[in-house]
């Protein structure tokens, strides 16, 4: 994996040296061993900060929107799932294809850093990560630690659809076969089986915890509104008060607002400080979109029209 990081640095350096891009957005070592953080590199000398491995959970495609009005081009490091975001942003006309250089890295799955961190001796230094197929070995100065993917990957990675970037200008690394450790809709189906009261009880418990920090909304690569209805003060649509009613309104609206555009990168779910299983809302919508409109996960192919953003006479009519 370190070898890939080296290739990545070389490619980034080339792009910056040849002035093909003004900025490279990638991953750098974070302040915890098992954590990486977004880095913004604008000079060839800076590329040494770039890294790659199983701790690159963030979806960096989100930041492209911040630079869409800059004169120069921007390169972004993406995994398979993040690449769907790039497609979606292009389809939403949020970014221009000619101003974006996509550096794609086939991704063998991202580890949940808190889980990993809990097992590694605090203060250790990372030496190397080895991918053994179904597990990772994290080599540190305090010893080697092995983590089974099945138990330590982020849930979204257990049901990954696109380990290989669906859009990429520069691909680094070999193509990786799709491997799912769980059935994609299993969690949703379990919930669907419950009675209305039980569903209500389950979600009330989740929504009641919400702090309304809006991390889920702000981290979302397809939440691109300049002013969100939840922030608007004139009129104030939703109160800042955190109670079940307002929180439920927020979560249903958020999930439905990205329906048909959500690329299932799972970032909302990952960043929630209260561990609200937000992906279960989005994946439910994906499941329904598939069943009703036979529609793949948004962003899977370029130019895919969202079933909720278009009309065809053949659309199912549950409401007629």
């Amino acid at each position: 994996m370190m070898n890939l990081a080296q290739q990545l640095r070389e490619q980034a350096k080339k792009l910056l040296e040849e002035k093909k891009v003004d900025l490279v957005i990638g991953f750098g070592q974070g302040t915890e061993l098992a954590r990486n953080t977004p880095v913004f590199i604008d000079s060839p000398e800076g590329v040494s900060a770039l890294t790659w491995g199983p701790f690159c959970a963030n979806n960096l495609a989100k930041y492209l929107v911040d630079y869409k009005n800059d004169p120069g081009s921007t390169a972004v490091v993406v995994k398979g799932c993040d690449a769907r975001s790039v497609n979606r942003l292009l389809d939403d006309n949020q970014i221009l294809r000619e101003k974006v250089v996509v550096i794609g890295l086939p991704c063998p799955g991202q580890l949940e850093w808190q889980k990993v961190s809990a097992e590694i001796k605090p203060g250790s230094t990372l030496k190397e990560v080895v991918d053994n197929g179904d597990s990772y070995t994290v080599k540190t100065d305090s010893g080697d630690y092995t983590f089974n993917k099945k138990d330590y990957l982020l849930h979204r990675c257990l049901v990954c659809e696109n380990p290989n970037p669906v859009i990429s200008d520069i691909t680094i690394g070999k193509e990786i076969p799709v491997k799912n450790y769980e059935e994609r809709f299993a969690e949703v189906q379990d919930l669907e089986k419950l009675a209305a009261d039980e569903k209500n009880e389950y979600w009330n418990k989740q929504f009641a915890r919400c702090l309304r920090c809006y991390a889920c909304r702000n981290v979302c690569s397809v939440c691109t509104c300049k002013v969100c209805a939840f922030d608007q003060m004139q009129p104030m649509w939703v109160s800042k008060r955190t109670n079940l009613s307002e929180n439920t309104a927020f979560h249903i609206t958020r999930a439905f607002h990205v329906a048909g555009r959500c690329v299932d990168c799972g970032e909302c779910d990952r960043v929630c400080p209260m561990d609200i299983p937000l992906r279960k809302l989005n994946v439910k919508i994906h499941k329904d979109l598939g069943e009703l409109f036979n529609s793949p996960t948004p962003g899977t192919e370029p130019g895919l029209i969202s079933p909720l953003g278009g009309f065809s006479p053949g659309d199912p009519e549950e409401f007629m």
Binding site: K205, C213, D231, K240
Partner: protein
């Protein structure tokens, strides 16, 4: 003051009694989360936890608080305030979070304006602290003047030693509580336990892995408001959510607004607010003194390491590590402190 002992076997009995006599707030497990909630007895209380996901600051400054309700009746306007505060015990709070409550005190019990909602809760609450048993990789309380077994701010501090809890009585309030439950919180020879606690404190203080040193940082910041550093990666990667502020035990900013339940009645509420939101400082006329993430991040961190010190002579951070842990993009206050030191020294 004195010190006493609770046998581990009796802690459940104590908690059950406290839950009966008081409004008992204690750490619980809700799915994957450790949170402070009101409990009805010992069965829900989580005793072996590292640190809660959210600090118990809500005991004193709830995320939503009604300040009064109003009602128009004909020509008159009636304003009714909530009455009565329950006797409360906050059990099992960690020393860092208790220290954080002390940073609230000068804010809410100000020189000119007090705050009846805060101070009534503060007065009627007994804080029973619980020493940490473990230092996490994100912890840095030692650098903010605290420690895993620090007694500051607690009324009673419990430290787990073997099959006992060593109980230190810190305040009169704590004394009154141990006297009321002296059958469980027993008088015993605690010399050995005191020694053991010191040993534990020493051992734990050697386990911190984050190197943070605040010395001189405020002084450097006094003369360096505009630093190019603030335009760096942190403001670029920040997604502008309120996670850091809501999980922070010392963040106390709030918003005030009305919540109407009908045409002529409603409640005025105060709710947590976050300085990371653009609307936080947006004036009705459209001007925003802190228009971008750069200013907002600078304000948040300057508040922690300088402004709170300037005003109240206390650091606005207790080193609980929650913001480090929870930030979606790994913005890390310890890194910022270290970087600032370097940057300002070279400036």
């Amino acid at each position: 003051m004195e010190s006493r002992v609770v046998n581990k076997g009796q802690i459940s009995e104590l908690l059950d009694k406290l839950a009966k006599d008081y409004n008992l707030i204690a750490p619980i497990k809700e799915e994957t989360m450790t949170l402070f909630r009101r409990v009805s007895g010992a069965q829900d209380v989580l005793l072996d936890y590292n640190n809660s996901d959210i600090s118990p600051k809500g005991c004193f400054l709830p995320q939503n608080e009604k300040t009064f309700s109003y009602m128009y009746t004909g020509d008159t306007l009636e304003i009714n305030k909530p009455v009565g505060t329950q006797k409360t015990v906050l059990f099992g709070a960690r020393p860092c979070d208790i220290k954080a409550i002390l940073t609230f005190d000068p804010v809410f019990d100000g020189v000119k304006f007090g705050d009846e909602y805060y101070s009534s809760k503060r007065e009627s609450t007994v804080i029973i602290g619980l020493s940490c048993a473990k230092v996490l990789s994100t912890c840095f309380c030692y650098a903010m003047g605290g420690g895993p077994c620090d007694t500051t701010g607690s009324d009673l501090l419990l430290t787990e030693i073997g099959d006992k809890y060593y109980v230190e009585v810190i305040t009169e309030k704590g004394q009154a509580l141990v006297d009321a439950y002296s059958q469980i919180i027993a008088k015993q020879d605690t010399a050995q336990l005191a020694k053991d606690k010191d040993e534990l404190a020493k051992k734990l203080s050697g386990e911190f892995v984050r190197k943070v040193d605040l010395t001189g940082v405020k002084e450097l910041m006094d003369n360096n408001f505009e630093l190019p550093y603030w335009a760096g990666d942190d403001q670029k990667k920040c997604i502008g959510c309120g996670t850091c502020t809501y999980v922070c035990p010392t963040c106390h900013c709030f918003d005030i607004f009305d919540y109407t339940t009908g045409d002529f009645t409603g409640d005025r509420l105060r709710c947590w607010d976050s300085c990371m939101f653009p609307e936080y400082t947006l004036e009705a006329g459209g001007h925003n003194p802190r228009p971008s993430r750069k200013e907002r991040i600078r304000n948040r961190f300057m508040h922690k390491i300088k402004y709170h010190l300037d005003r109240y002579n206390m650091v606005g951070c207790v080193g609980c590590g929650r913001c480090v842990n929870k930030c979606p993009v790994n913005i890390d206050i310890t890194k910022i402190i270290n970087d600032l030191k370097e940057v300002a020294q070279n400036a």
